[in-house]
């Protein structure tokens, strides 16, 4: 792989991690805050004193962070043995996973 191709693959991987997690975080945000009033939340035993809008926003980024971790872990566990061992790939096309998702 040329360095340009590698850069594209990292960008592709980055979006594969960031984008699905963004969608799922949005759904989680709607579901969570429809059911739970941000004014009724407790943070470390104290009532949350942020503004409602701040709570929603922090909540969204919290969900997004969790989902990013999950998407990243999925990509991480898709690495093949040869990649983990650091052995040369021999230019084989992998049959068991999507290329570029390492």
């Amino acid at each position: 792989m040329s360095s340009a191709e590698e850069a594209f693959h990292s960008m592709q991987r980055l979006i594969q991690v960031l984008w699905p997690s963004f969608i799922v975080a949005g759904l989680a945000e709607v579901a969570f805050f429809t059911l739970i009033d941000p004014q009724e939340l407790y943070l470390l035993g104290e009532p949350v004193h942020f503004s409602t809008l701040a709570t929603y926003s922090i909540g969204f980024f919290g969900f997004w962070a969790i989902c990013i971790t999950s998407s990243w872990a999925t990509c991480f566990f898709q690495r093949r043995a040869s990649e983990i061992n650091g052995l040369p790939d021999g230019g084989e096309v992998s049959g068991d996973r999507q290329s570029g998702c390492a």
């Binding site: 979006i15 984008w19 409602t52 809008l53 926003s57």
Partner: protein, 475 residues
């Protein structure tokens, strides 16, 4: 939009791919040529319609407040005469189901109508490309400009475009936030330079998303990021209207001299001018058949029809048709007859039932909700005349947009009565908590919990009535 350049007969316009560094993958940069025609007009009508709705609706007033406002801080959704509370999440779920089945139905009937005409990604890309064309010029001028090294002229043109794009994107972000925070308050706080940090953040966030998606990502959003694009194929069947190239009529393709009889030369109707590829916003060649990248915008139909006109061939070499119709040479009549098929019946049936349920729920919705909570501090205590008192806390939610007075009543045990004020006034669209003492004779029921009912009725509005069950404790 400008007319496309006349299609030169007998000359092949080379489609030169330009490789650029894209965000998502190595892609050929697509410079869509602008197109005019019946479908382009429809696309523009839809752009105007959706955008007047989007940019205008937040300024419309209703009952002395913003007509459409998803007020996140108050946790109330105002949609014209309706006020939805978090407890009305059921209606939100129904709206989502209705949207999904409407999308399934439209897709089964006529493919990606949503993508081609109404999706914000398409609409904003259309607007951003229009701005680009006004500032940078038509397709060939844009391609030339991008090839040139940076100069004062190029910088001026590019800077003007960026300024227009960013201004438009920020206005879009502002409007978007204006649906979640009252737009007039938002305007005032911008004017007085006191916009809250989170409002500011979301205006820029949404503005940046618009700028990036419509200015740069464009068709890549549809090809790689849109979930619908990935599964829309399952709603298709051989009777779905799709944008199709009539290969039987068009092939073999080739350049020809207009004066000669091309049929005797063994050629089909396709002059292979490549304009259908140039106008395609996703950069595909529709002549290769149905592809998942096709967003159904019909730009290639408009473009090809113009070429056919110039050649004096009948229109419709590329047209809306179905797989069956192309194969069986069906006309409009047969295509319409095949609209009725199990798939469309099932989608319509489910859609009809859910819409009916939604309308029924909305029209019979009582603008009053009451939560009864037992006072946990005192379970039951004896008061004067040997009566037993229980204390309840009533959360009275008046979801109507006027102040209402409610009469409270209690029933379920003989001799049960209210020991406190029986009328409560609740301002428009608010919740009021009232503490209510209820008295009953000690021998009115069995020891332990006895079911009783609170009846809450709006004074002067007989139909606004709620009956809530709770329990009365007797020692």
């Amino acid at each position: 939009m400008n007319d496309p350049a006349p299609a030169p007969a007998g000359k092949v316009i080379p489609v030169v791919p330009v490789v650029e560094d894209a965000l998502y993958e190595v892609r050929k940069r697509i410079y869509p040529r602008s197109v005019s025609g019946a479908f382009a007009t429809w696309r523009w009508i839809l752009v105007w319609f959706t955008q007047i709705l989007f940019y205008g609706l937040c300024w419309l007033d209703w009952n002395g407040r913003q007509a459409v406002l998803f007020h996140l801080v108050e946790r109330k959704f105002y949609i014209f005469g309706w006020v939805f509370w978090p407890q009305d999440v059921f209606f939100l779920a129904l709206i989502l189901i209705i949207s999904a089945f409407a999308l399934f139905l439209f897709t089964a009937v006529a493919g990606r109508l949503w993508c081609g005409y109404a999706c914000p990604q398409t609409v904003y890309t259309e607007i951003f490309m229009w701005i680009e064309e006004k500032i940078e010029g038509d397709r060939s001028k844009r391609m030339k400009l991008d090839e040139q090294p940076m100069s004062a002229r190029k910088f001026r043109i590019k800077a003007t475009k960026q300024f227009a794009w960013i201004a438009f994107a920020l206005w879009t972000g502002f409007t978007f936030v204006g649906y979640f925070t009252p737009v007039r308050e938002l305007t005032q706080s911008i004017a007085s330079w006191s916009l809250g940090p989170w409002e500011t953040f979301w205006i820029f966030f949404y503005g940046f998303a618009t700028y990036g998606n419509a200015g740069y990502m464009r068709e890549q959003v549809c090809k790689y990021m849109c979930p619908y694009a990935r599964f829309q194929g399952v709603m298709f069947d051989p009777d779905t209207l799709i944008i199709t190239y009539d290969a039987e009529r068009g092939d073999p393709r080739g350049a020809r001299n207009k004066k000669l009889d091309y049929k005797s030369a063994g050629l089909g109707d396709c002059v292979d001018c490549g304009i259908c590829v140039q106008v395609c916003p996703t950069g595909i060649d529709i002549r290769k058949g149905l592809q998942y990248e096709c967003i159904g915008c019909a730009a290639c139909i408009d473009a090809c029809d113009q070429v056919m006109d110039k050649m004096n061939y009948p229109k419709g070499l590329i047209r809306y048709s179905t797989e069956h119709a192309i194969k069986e040479h069906w006309g409009k009549k047969e295509i319409i007859a095949h609209l009725m098929r199990p798939r469309t019946f099932i989608y319509t049936g489910i859609l009809g039932i859910v819409v009916a349920g939604f309308i029924y729920g909305l029209t019979t919705r009582i603008p009053l909700r009451v939560d009864v909570i037992r006072d946990r501090a005192s379970l039951a205590r004896e008061v004067e005349d040997g009566k037993i008192e229980n204390v309840f806390r009533l959360q009275v939610m008046n979801t109507a947009e006027e102040t209402r007075r409610f009469a409270l009543g209690v029933s379920g045990l003989s001799g049960i009565e209210l020991g406190s004020d029986a009328v409560v006034e609740v301002p428009a669209a608010t919740t009021k908590g009232v503490v209510v003492r209820v008295l009953a004779p000690g021998d009115a029921g069995k020891t332990g919990s006895n079911p009783i009912f609170f009846e809450i009725k709006a004074i002067n509005h007989e139909e606004v009535f709620v009956r809530e069950k709770t329990t009365f404790l007797l020692p």
